[in-house]
Amino acid sequence: MSFYLVQFLSGLATAATLFLVSSGLTIVFGVTRIVNFAHGSFYMLGAYLGWTLVERWGSTPLGFWGAVAASALAVGLLGALMEVGLLRRLYRSPELFQLLATFGVVLVVQDAASWIWGSEDLLGRRAPGLRGSVDILDQPFPLYDLVLIGLGPLVLGLLWLLFNRTRWGTLVRAATQDRDMASALGVDPARLFTGVLFLGSALAGLGGALQVPREAVNLHMDMAIVVEAFVVVVVGGMGSLTGAFVASLLIGQLQAFGILVFPQITLVLVFLFMAVVLVIRPYGLLGRAEDAPPTAASPGPPLVAAAGAARWAPALLLALLAAVPLVAGDYALIVLTEVVILALLAASLHLLIGLGGLVSFGHAAYFGLGAYGAALLVKHFAAPMPLALAAAPLVAGLGALAAGWFCVRRSGLYFAMLTLAFAQIVWSVTFQWYGVTGGDNGILGVWPPDWAAGKAAYYWLTLALAGGALLLLRRAAFAPFGYTLRAGRDSTLRAESVGIDVRRHQWLSFALAGSAAGLAGGLYAFSKGSVFPTLMAVPVSVDALVMVLMGGIQTLSGPVVGAALFHLLETEAMSRTDWWRLVLGAIILVLVLAFPKGVAGFVRDLWTRGRDA
């Protein structure tokens, strides 16, 4: 009995941290509608700053708590700085662009932290006065964790007072609902948002600094926490503080007891829980329909098929690319093969985002399913490459068909989180099912046969298959299927009222996008000769998203341009410096600020302006 009580209490302590971080995230999202990936980075910075300050001052209780508070404030200031220097310039851009910008910040912070604090895990000092433990029914429980447990409700109460009993809070709630109206009443939304980013980031920093006595500070804290915090925010209902609190409690307990009951699936328990909650309650536990986030639908000019000479651009490009092996060496061909594969991955994601208005955070699942589908056939059945390559889109397409059935029933960020949940489930099955998939050892020896083994030969094969699939996706965009998708994106209600089954089309597009990503995955597996679970992990999904957004979602060439740009930059930066994340992040930030419509959108604007003039 007492064991369970202690387990319950440690679940509460986990919940407290989770709540601090996710309350900040939900506040920032509720007000600015920005999906702030950098929130996890602020948590990590809070932990690192907290470690440094606690080392310096933390020998007395006053010094320790002063260090925690100072870290939170410093991180809050960084958040405010990000709002003023970056996000403020993007409020008029498509919503997803802000997400891209915050991802640039993630990369920069990663390397900055590694530069300042090194890559070793840092063990912090325990909190003075709270080092011991208390006996609860004869079981020891850390005193510090008891303090954390009390802190959660305290912060919830303070935030409630702030938002419901102060003028600032009232203005924030007003601006959250109707930014333009608030500003017409004399409220400066920009200043409010700076304040909100300060508050939200400070909460993340506080959560991070409070972790110093509990766990080692390391460079992987950012992504781990941001994914969990998103789960909490979505389960609780976006923008709802109380919802975030309840969800934190539930997920804290799930983690405390889940490990006892289902040790095999600990990695996915949280995501399964989220999927179940979203299937039962579409807007989370305490969310409301009107708080649902807007989708990717951009008010930009509609897609038009290129006319005149530009119509031949794709064919010309393919011809040019086909000629490259005549002049390029092996290294260039390897990189270019990867670019072509990633272009297909990005274009398949663009089918969902750009045409369907469905932002997927888990597209890597289908890339990975394709890769593993092909590799498993080779390993277990010694299948020849053509068969394995044919199976890749099939396996991924079937996976997408199954996952899509659930996902398309939700929209906006709820859709995104469901796709992420399925991707995490697929990833952890692959990761933990050693007998079949080899777990994190991956599957080796997936090489093409002799006729395609040369770098040029495999490049041509990739170009033919991926290029064909790209043309097919392009064709779909201008077929009635594509128009239907876009109609559903721009107004589900109107599309349905003229007799279109929007959900069915979204489901089909999900499967189509999944199988195209699967083909890319299959091609990738044979180009590398091996597959690993990282192929379907979060970073790959994020990379694909970045490629699409970098190129711009308003053009079909956008994802292709974005994939090329992103991969070439990444490869080039990696080969030149250890600080490639910093370089890449900085480039993303510059691009976002310089081309708020994406690179391809910018070029197209130049082109049409040139013709209008």
Binding site: A174, Q177, M181, A184, L185, G186, V187, P299
Partner: protein
């Protein structure tokens, strides 16, 4: 102090995306004056008010308010100079109570403009007084319209931009609204009110400007418009 008008609009142009809505609007509102901006649906009334308030991304031309050029200022700066905007679609903050809605509009007192407090507004709109703690989303259309007006008055404006206040309201509420506007005028407030309802405009306005296809086609005393059937037929009849 001067004979200079409170609001002077010259050659105002505005766009929605690529659509050129206003092609050159000229308007004047004097101190203490109520001007009706009349015209059919789609003539550009709402766009004119939004463009004056700085709520459109793309606009051109000059807007002078109280002797200051405001044509390049963001909405919150314009509002803080004493220009109050009441939208047509009753954008109350549905999640906020009546009291909180008023709080959002509150600005410091201003010289030369009536000073409003929640209590004075509750006296002007007795309905609102009875539902101070009610959320905006749980009010009727007429109550929301009153709240929108009261909320803007909390900013102590010297000029009110009022967009179709009578639209979609029951006749009894329209009457209340007209009474409220006359009371505001008696307080010395200047008002630019866009309207389709000629009877309502006639009940509150001193002068009228008639807009059609993004330009002002008629400008003169309200009485002249009432008597000039040719103008009414050309620009107002449906």
């Amino acid at each position: 102090m001067t004979t200079q008008p409170l609001l002077s609009v010259r050659g105002l142009q505005a766009w929605y995306g690529r659509a050129h809505i206003l092609t050159g609007v000229d308007l004047v509102v004097g101190r203490g004056e109520v001007v009706a901006l009349m015209g059919r649906n789609g003539a550009g009334k709402t766009t004119t008010l939004k463009a004056i308030m700085g709520l459109l991304d793309r606009r051109a031309g000059s807007v002078t308010f109280d002797g200051r050029d405001v044509s390049a200022l963001p909405p919150h700066r314009i509002a803080r100079l004493g220009l109050g905007y009441v939208p047509e679609d009753r954008r109350v903050f549905t999640d906020l109570t009546v009291e909180e809605n008023l709080e959002v509009g509150r600005q410091p007192p201003r010289d030369g403009a009536p000073h409003w407090t929640p209590d004075r507004l509750y006296a002007l709109f007795p309905n609102l007084a009875e539902m101070r703690g009610r959320r905006g989303g749980r009010m009727s259309g007429g109550e929301q319209q009153m709240l929108t007006l009261a909320r803007t008055l909390m900013g102590n404006p010297s000029l009110l931009l009022l967009d179709e206040p009578s639209e979609g309201l029951a006749p009894r509420i329209v009457q209340q609204m007209a009474d409220a506007l006359r009371a505001l005028k008696a307080e010395g407030l200047s008002i630019l009110v866009s309207e389709q309802n000629l009877a309502f405009a006639a009940a509150v306005a001193d002068r009228a400007s008639v807009i059609e296809k993004g330009q002002i086609r008629f400008e003169g005393p309200m009485r002249t418009l009432l008597e000039d059937e040719a103008v009414r037929r050309a620009y107002l009849a449906v």
